[in-house]
Symmetry: C2
Subunit: 338 residues, 2 copies
DNA sequence: GGCTGCTAGGAAAGCGCTTACCTATGTGAT
DNA sequence: ATCACATAGGTAAGCGCTTTCCTAGCAGCC
């Protein structure tokens, strides 16, 4: 690897001068020297060593992002927003998949700190686990103490900057619409109960149903894995457990698709006999038949805002932005049968 | 940020000793000293500066990945394989989205070189553009000259290690199956013609049809954008241009879904009147109605193999692994109507 | 022509770490 | 008791870069 010294030697100047030319320093350099340096750079295919640069002038050029899993469409969208803003700021981004393992999340924060990243964005859902939350907060504080910036998306663990989707509002929208269409016997296909995202959505749904005079009873909620199979299984259990069920609320679209699959397998018409609604408005929601009624979260925007907070000027106090949820009406929800 | 020197001072030892206990060096250290160092590390929440470490002992801990777009399910899957292996090797991964912009790809290679990443994995499709290919090869060579490792997935540009999906075989499988089911008037919804992935798939399809005695005529191919809208538009044009068309081959699943949408909008039964096949077997392929017959590519495996090559021992000569494509039969392909 | 005052370029320190090399201590053998 | 040797721990160099500080050279002025 060619070094600055190599370039300087070849150009017949001091490393200081070479550095000044390469970084376009404010200090003026004679044109002939400048040219010689530039030629040497080209000849040697010199690229400055980012680590040495960082050591000499602490100006971080990489940001870290911790998500549950980039290959999940939810995080793929979120990440797109994060990346866009990071790229606009000239930053590279390290993406870490925690696969919903809190321990791994902690490890990654540590590794990112060691990498001296400019900022860490933690995306995903928080956990109902006080011990973990405390340890995470502690690690983040240690990182921030060294000048790092932190922003979280969709989770509450951090006392600083946060961008939140209106999960509870989304649940509320769904509940209200279901009631409006006459549904009373409603089953809920929920994800893992430890995730705050799930409980937030559920809280909104509960509130809307209670306000409408038809409170949700706990035995009509099934906590399952956050994917198709989990959705199908939970839907099956609910169908068996609740006679006369007219609607299924899945707390994300993957589970809703699973529920749809199960209903088709049982030859139950959707929405003729049972309506299904999802959450997140993933691309798949529009592609299935019937197309899913769901709640749209501005994921790209959420990611973009989070990265903007993380990379923009630090605020003296914590900023929390909430981005609205909207109902997307498609075919999978219809009026309740008599 | 606490430094090694801080730790050493607090523990009352030299930086050398502190370094030795922290890195578990082979040199033995007395237990009481070791303990004091460890306590100091804990007290100060010391995390070694990865850049300084890298400068002192050139042992890269980060790898770079360049993809078209992580939020595209194709790359999401690929990336999952890449990440898994990188994580197993204890490496963090920087993911760069080129958004199919060759210029940006080049820039990223440069930035990754500056970051001294241990390896660069270039994923996606190559371009039919000799100038670009040469420039890319040159940049990669410069990077490799500094000890970096390079592997490519799904592209031919690199003289070294490569992992390839059997794109042509996939096209061939589709062609053969179409013929077997009696289809003769076949339209092709292709992606951008500059992508080698597209032309490879097309070549396989062409070969199979030609071997079956029904060569594909060029006016039955429409090059469009690689997404739903492109697929819908191209499908519409083909339907209008080719009377009696009985099958539509889309060169990826997104375009196939677009085609399906268009056919439904025109009330054309699938596969009753027109069959549709896709490529890639993305999750959505199983979710649409009718479920898509498509070609499965082992994407996770492809990514994993590429990262394994990139992180494993260097070979003296280039290794090219081809991973097989398989036909996934679902409902969207039926026999040709009379 | 001699002085001041500026400027372009170089020398060198230092960022945080690892490690080769050296010193001082303790051990065992004689 | 003396010496040789092994060994724990320290000293310092150096990784590649930036930047402060300094020097040498020059122009401009009286």
């Amino acid at each position: 690897m060619a070094t600055l010294a190599d370039v300087a030697r070849r150009a017949g100047v001091s490393p200081a001068t070479a550095s000044r030319v390469i970084n376009g320093s404010s200090k003026p350099v004679a044109d002939n020297l400048r040219e010689r340096v530039l030629r040497a750079v080209a000849d040697l295919r010199y690229v400055p060593n980012a680590h040495a640069q960082l050591l000499a002038r602490p100006q971080r050029s990489v940001v870290g992002v911790v998500v549950h899993d980039v290959s999940d469409p939810y995080f793929a969208e979120l990440t797109r927003g994060l990346q866009r803003v990071a790229t606009d700021h000239g930053r590279l981004v390290i993406i870490c998949n925690s696969y919903r393992d809190p321990e791994r999340e902690l490890e990654y924060v540590e590794m990112l700190r060691a990498q001296q990243v400019a900022a860490i964005v933690l995306a995903g859902s928080g956990y109902h686990d006080a011990t973990f939350t405390a340890r995470l907060a502690e690690k983040l504080a240690a990182y921030e103490a060294t000048g790092g910036r932190v922003a979280v998306v969709g989770r509450h663990e951090h006392p600083g900057d946060a961008v939140m989707p209106a999960n509870a509002d989304g649940g509320r929208l769904l509940g209200a619409e279901l009631l409006r269409q006459g549904h009373r016997r409603i089953g809920v296909v929920a994800g893992p109960q430890v995730l705050t995202t799930i409980t937030d959505r559920l809280d909104g749904l509960r509130a809307a149903l209670a306000e409408g005079g038809h409170p949700l009873s706990e035995e009509r909620i099934r906590y399952a894995d956050f994917d198709r199979d989990g959705g199908a299984r939970a839907a099956g259990e609910l169908l068996d457990a609740v006679p006369g069920l007219t609607a299924l609320v899945a707390l994300n679209d993957s589970m809703a698709v699973g529920a749809l699959t199960l209903l088709r397998a049982r030859d139950i018409p959707v929405p003729g006999q049972v309506s299904v609604v999802g959450f997140d408005d993933m691309p798949v929601a529009a592609d299935v038949t019937p197309a899913l009624t769901t709640v749209r979260l501005p994921l790209v925007e959420l990611g973009a805002r989070a990265m903007t907070l993380a990379l923009g000027p630090a605020a003296d106090r914590s900023r929390v932005e909430v981005l609205p949820a909207t109902l997307v009406v498609r075919d999978s929800l219809g009026p309740a049968p008599d």
